[in-house]
């Protein structure tokens, strides 16, 4: 269930209809730019701190 939910949520947010197929060669030399890494780290910190209330 978790896998399905995870995949569905990811495709919806990226507005993709199917899972992209990328080869290892495509990403092997990919560098993650600083601004992307910085945004990721700040979201990760925020995610650990403030829960979003879902109501009961």
């Amino acid at each position: 269930q978790m896998e399905e939910k995870f995949q569905e949520s990811l495709l919806r947010q990226l507005q993709l209809n199917e899972i992209p197929v990328l080869e290892k060669a495509d990403v092997e030399h990919l560098v993650i730019p600083d601004h992307v890494r910085t945004k990721y780290v700040s979201l990760m910190k925020r995610s650990a701190e403030e829960p979003s209330p879902r109501g009961k």
């Binding site: 990226l14 290892k24 990760m44 995610s47």
Partner: protein
Amino acid sequence: RHSQTIAEIMGRFFSDASNQLLVFSMKDRLPPNRELVQAVLRLFQKPSSKGVIRKQHKMFPFHSYASVTIYWVQVREDGTNRTYVIDSRRVSTQETGWITFDVSQAVNYWQQEGKVNQPLVLEVSIHRENIGPMSSNAHKFIHFSSQNPVDGELHAPQLQLHTLDMEEYGAHGNCDPDIPLSRGTRCCRRETYINLQEFKWTENWILDPPGFKAYDCVGSCQQLKKEHLNFRWPFATQRKCHVTSTAPLPLIVAVKEGDKIVTKVVNLYNMKVMQCSCSSEGMPVMKKLKP
């Protein structure tokens, strides 16, 4: 206003509703270890004189009702007030005695503000049930005992708070990983780790994180028994262990843009369970205060 064809008309807002403010001190009434399940406002409706009832009945034989609406009054930092409708019901001039209103949402708003030393301020508005020249003016003859000492203590408005002891009826935070789950396990948050690298389809697509702690809510809740409740509460149904707050999960993914491959950050919502609670099925979800 600002219309070329219609001249602006100035006027005064006129309402023949009668309003009274009620102020309840909340000091020590809702300690952190108690959960509010319902808040009830009880107002004593004074009897209308027989003459009034007779005259009303003659003029409006089928309609001697008025509407009573309860508002929560939010006193803002800048000193202005803002009101929120909490409950409303019809009242007859021919009745007298205690009537109740559900003001759970008002107490919940008060809790959300977190100003524990501030009182709860409610406004009782008695107004016409219908609008128009033929509508009854029964609202003029409906009176409730107020908090004014002149009205006496016996029939003063009452705020009843029905709460549950969280120690007994609440969840127990995070599960103890050293204690195996059993029938007796109390509702808690169990750590479950999702290894994204086990999902074949994430290969070369999700670059970070390799996995994450998702958690889930397990265990059972202490049930309410009818004899525990000294009032009629429609939600004394099955209490279950629910997810009550979640957090998003950020990811770094590789995506194709044209013939290039770039990296992007995506924030997946409701992916991590942050809190589990025991609550009754069908309990109304309290509204959130908007800033």
